[in-house]
Amino acid sequence: MKQYLLSVCYQAGSTQPAPEALGKIMSDVMAVRKEMQTAGAWVFSGGLHPPSSSTVLRHQNGEVVLTDGPFVESKEQIGGITIVQVADLDAALDWARKLARATATPIEVRPFMEHRS
């Protein structure tokens, strides 16, 4: 089994969908999550607050310095993540397809490194 990170991507500065549309998206996403859980593929998922809510820590000259704001100002941002555990990329892509339909945003699929212990 392999684990994959499915990231919900959106363009920086894009406006949030209207409340009723957002409600529909949320319930669709929850339905996909339920399906993942029933199939035993779901590991974790969660939505993220905007990048402006982040704090960055840097190790400098033996000290850890805190700064406000995201590490990189990027055009593409991550709105939420899901981690699935499945047999191979095709299985991960099947879930990502469902998530892309539910969220109506691009989904990036990225494999985790395997740690054979």
């Binding site: 191979d88 990329l89 095709d90 990225r110 494999p111 490194m113 054979r116």
Partner: protein, 385 residues
């Protein structure tokens, strides 16, 4: 290669093992004679080489992996080769890989071309191509692209990617997008070889046969397409120089497709080329039938390029005026053929100055030296009169 990859689950490891097995065969067979099943011998030897290496290089976890392989040891027979090649094709053409990586991998792992040859055919430095291939292999490994034939529900979409890769290889060979050589025959041969392989592996898929038919019917005109290195248009080609055996094979495949009654874009394009090939002269071409086929193509696989070709058929049926209207409505400003077709239509309509201007634009957009020479000749003949 394909069998060993399934066995080992790693393309690079499989490649090295197969190379070693061939090296052993070269050393041994001259003395011992060729074994009764050469392919089986190579497979078994390559598998043993790979297992030896895994044992030698094993860290603890890899040793477990090798042990697992031994436990799962199965009888490897030559008939497995059939299925394994099919798996390999779908892995090489997985949509998660970039198109240029799909092409490079397919040619390298299923075709008969070396990395050097592929690099030359695609006009990229060998190091670039080698890197492209090794990156693609790493992605297959790291991202867990499965080594298997897709399930029935995914098959149509996945097969489209496979066919697109093979046709891209063919087109790159037939009308090289850039460079000085009009035809890079080895790529056409390779694409047709892959098409035959697909046809043998998936005889029940009419689009597979349709693509093979299409490539054969086009490739039959290869020798007639140039005279003294200069490009000759279909209408002006010496039809005696068309390869009758390729045409016949293409037509026979078309008959098989028609019998399956599941039309698709490749079959329709093949049918269009079959109509061309049936005409004893350009003037006798059945343009009405060609137009009908383009109409069907516009329904099942509409594209701007198809629309452009359809406009050419309209012009051939006597409607140069109407064709020009159609061409002017096609939004493909960067495509040199659009400007070349436009120029030709304007010339027919007697609008010489406009035609000359269109040829100039076509010349600007065209990157193939031979096609440019052809366009330049057209342009010159226009301005001379």
């Amino acid at each position: 290669m394909a069998v060993i990859t399934r066995f080992l689950g790693d393309i690079s490891l499989a490649e090295e093992a197969v190379q070693e097995a061939f090296a052993t065969a070269l050393a041994r067979w001259p003395q011992s004679g060729i074994p009764p099943s050469p392919a089986g011998w190579i497979i078994t030897t390559a598998r043993n080489k790979a297992l030896d290496r895994l044992r030698k290089e094993a860290t603890r976890s890899e040793r477990q992996y090798a042990a697992q392989l031994l436990i799962e040891e199965e009888q490897l027979e030559e008939h497995d080769v059939h299925d394994d090649r099919l798996r390999m094709i779908f892995t090489c053409c997985h949509p998660a890989l970039a198109p240029d990586a799909q092409v490079a991998l397919t040619l390298r792992l299923l075709g008969g071309l070396s990395t050097e040859e592929i690099a030359r055919a695609f006009l990229v430095p060998p190091a670039t191509l080698a890197q492209r291939i090794s990156r693609a292999k790493a992605k297959i490994r790291d991202t867990g692209i499965p080594y298997r034939v897709p399930e029935a529900t995914d098959l149509p979409a996945r097969l489209r990617t496979v066919l697109a890769v093979v046709y891209l290889i063919f087109n790159e060979g037939y009308s090289a997008a850039s460079g000085d050589e009009l035809l890079r025959g080895e790529l056409c041969d390779e694409a047709i070889r892959l098409g035959r392989l697909l046809g043998a592996l998936m005889p029940g898929e009419p689009e597979v046969l349709g693509l093979l038919a299409l490539m054969l019917l086009i490739d039959a005109r290869r020798d007639a397409r140039t005279v003294g290195g200069d490009l000759v248009r279909l209408a002006e080609q010496d039809r005696e120089r068309w390869d009758e055996s390729k045409l016949e094979e293409g037509r026979a495949l078309m008959r098989d497709c028609l019998a399956q009654n599941r039309p698709g874009p490749y079959q329709l394009q093949a049918a269009i080329n079959a109509v061309h090939s049936d005409a004893s002269s350009a003037a006798r071409t059945d343009w009405r039938q060609i137009l009908e086929l383009y109409d069907q193509l516009m329904v099942i696989a509409p594209s701007l390029v198809v629309a452009l070709n359809r406009a050419v058929a309209v012009a051939e049926m006597g409607g140069a005026d109407r064709a020009l209207q159609l061409v002017d409505a096609i939004d493909l400003p960067q495509y040199y053929l659009l400007h070349a077709v436009r120029a030709d239509l304007l010339r027919r309509l007697g609008r010489t100055a406009d035609a000359a201007f269109a040829y100039q634009i076509a010349l600007e957009k065209c990157e193939n030296a031979k096609e440019r020479e052809f366009l330049a000749r057209q342009y010159q003949s226009l301005t001379r009169n």
